[in-house]
């Protein structure tokens, strides 16, 4: 249903865009200020303690998780993630959801009920909001140079004369059909 809703508004990124790559790169870059917040509040050590890992390993895990989260953000928000005026907010709302799902629900489950509290909990919340703000701001800038050029993307057979004979439907679904 959500996919249909987004497609109805023309959210599908289309063949010239690379949202997963742009989102993953932005997710990794946005982790830099977020780590600063974690260190300031002393949250990194607490997270590492709860997960039973070293701080370096915790950071590495966090970087990988945020790359996936960034890719998910850019794909889910589609063309909206390219908006300079709205990206910061979309990123923050997405990171709020990631915080609510990850830090508040999943982390205690993974750690048998242990959860950060006090300033460490504040630091995790603040770092996620900072990450979301940063990823939302970054995606449009990171994405632009990653686009396939209009010149080469327009030569894609999907947009050529055969399109007249295709049934209506999302482009990617048609591509998957073709592969099958």
């Amino acid at each position: 249903m959500i996919r249909g809703f987004l497609d109805a508004h023309g959210y599908d990124p289309g063949p010239s865009q690379r949202p997963l790559l742009a989102g993953a790169i932005s997710g990794i870059l946005a982790t830099v200020p977020a780590i600063g917040v974690l260190i300031y509040f002393g949250s990194l050590k607490i997270e590492a303690h709860i997960l039973g890992m070293s701080s370096v390993a915790t950071l590495a895990l966090g970087w990988a998780a945020m790359a996936v989260a960034g890719a998910a953000y850019a794909r889910f928000f589609g063309r909206a993630a390219n908006a300079l005026k709205g990206g910061w907010l979309f990123g923050m709302s997405f990171s709020f959801a990631v915080w609510a799902a990850g830090a508040v629900l999943i982390l205690p489950i993974l750690s048998h009920g242990q959860a950060p509290a006090g300033e460490a909990a504040s630091g995790i919340a603040a770092s996620m909001i900072v990450w979301g703000f940063a990823v939302g701001v970054l995606v449009p800038f990171v994405h632009k140079p990653l686009h396939e050029s209009i010149e080469s993307a327009s030569k894609n057979a999907d947009v050529g004369p055969d399109a007249a004979a295709r049934k209506n439907g999302p482009v990617r679904e048609r591509q998957q059909e073709a592969k099958r």
């Binding site: 959210y11 303690h49 242990q114 006090g118 909990a121 439907g169």
Partner: protein, 583 residues
Amino acid sequence: MLRVVALPKAVAAGVAGAAVIEGVTLAAAKAGLPTIDLVSQLSAAEFHHMPALAVVAAFIAHFAIGICWAVFYAFFFWGRFHLRPALQGLLFAILPATLAILVVYPELALMRSAADVVRLDIGSFFAPLNAATIGSLLVSHALFGLTIGMIYRRPTGYSVDSRPAPPAPRRRSTKGRQRREAAAGFMFATGIECSYPTIENGTWRRDEMKSTSHYEMWQKDFELAREIGITHIRYGPPLHLIFDGPGRYDWSYSDPQMEELREYGPEPIIDLCHFGAPSWLGNFQNPDIGAALEEYAGAFADRYPWVRFYTPVNEMYVCARMSALDGLWNEQLRDEGAYARAAWNLANASIRMSDAILKRRDDAVFINSESSEFYQPCCPDERVQQIAEESNERRFLPLDLIFAHPLSKRMHDLLCQQGVSADDISRLCGREVPRRSILGVDYYEWNERLIDRAGNARALGELFGWYVIADQYWHRYRRPMMHTETNKMDADGAPRWLWRQWHNVQLLAKAGVPLVGFTWYSLTDQIDWSIAMSEAIGLVYPVGLFDLNREARIVGLAYKHLIDLYRDQPDYRQCSALAEILR
């Protein structure tokens, strides 16, 4: 983008919403009622060793959260339900209230803990919640929702008494400064959506160029058009902002763009009146509109003598119908007589404008674009047949007047009943139509309509197709033709629509109809066209070759593919129908 958001309005709404919560909380606390002061909660969680800083930081955080929610509301929620704005805000407040109760408030309690790590289960996580805290959170969020709902309204357009900032100045260097048009090559066109009708009884101006950020990004828009190979662009400088009164013009709203188009293209097809009139002229019931627009057309041709292609009045039938029959724009009437008056005034204006331009440039070319409507009766019922027949006569009225085609008796009598003299009708219908007049036929999937048993017009989709409908117009007027507008609401299905329209054009040309061009309308997505701009909601209508971030849509790539494939074919590099007009 899902919506066009008025950020200043959303920020004001968020700040006001947070302030209302704080004010009511303080008042309730003084009255001894159970409340949750979010500022106290936030300040207790952080900076508790610096009380003054804690309160300031908490206030800032609270207002920032209010702003974020209000902008979120503006992007995703506003206008989704047909409710009064305050009630929309109230309904929206369910979302932040739920998150506050289930996540934020229990988490704030955790943040106030002295320990760094706690052991949690569901019971201990929700322990801080009780009936009083839940009730207090619900009430405060309801107040927040009501406040943002009341403040955040009408994100697009502006009061008719105000003016947007003029277009951005022209940059010195731009990309892709390469003209695409051949001397008499087939016109591969697009357009900048530029409608500017008024709504809300003439008090609120829609302005699509402002809503789509064309005033700020006009130079980028022209660059993109050139990049995909567009040769001609339908372009409507904002009449309502330029024409300030008799003899008074503010050309700052068109000079930069026109200078760029003159030097680097695409070749403009200038749209002088697009669904709206300046406020001082009122609306299309005003019989003086013809004389006023004649003056404007002359002034425009004097200012930009290099412009050769004009659309004096865009889609006269649509403009008259939406303004005087459907009650949506400008005069907002629902009356057959008012429709006839608007159609007469618009057609008369179009003719006077053409004449004024021809006085300045006798080789001007007029592309009179009109929506290609068609009404099909659903059954042999006499009443249904009559409604379809009347609807079909009505759609031809403005074109009949400008192309000097005999009127049906019903339309002739209707005009006479509205005070138009038979002599005036004869004068128009007997005039010599300028030789360089092209009939522009627009086509969308809702243009073919079925009159159902109840007498209502229902969209049929593409039943007969542009070929059949355009052929009706060809047989009626026998003028060179151009496909002057089409698009498709489904962004992914748009390439299919584009190519099918193109095949219609080719088929009609092969049948011997002189066709000079094809247009995908418009260059960028549009705003609120899914509701015919009848309300200022800010819904993005994703039909553009580019989205509002100016990123290519798949149909933009498809159109470039099409242009690259055909522009150098002999019949298109030198279009004999256009060459005949231009000679």
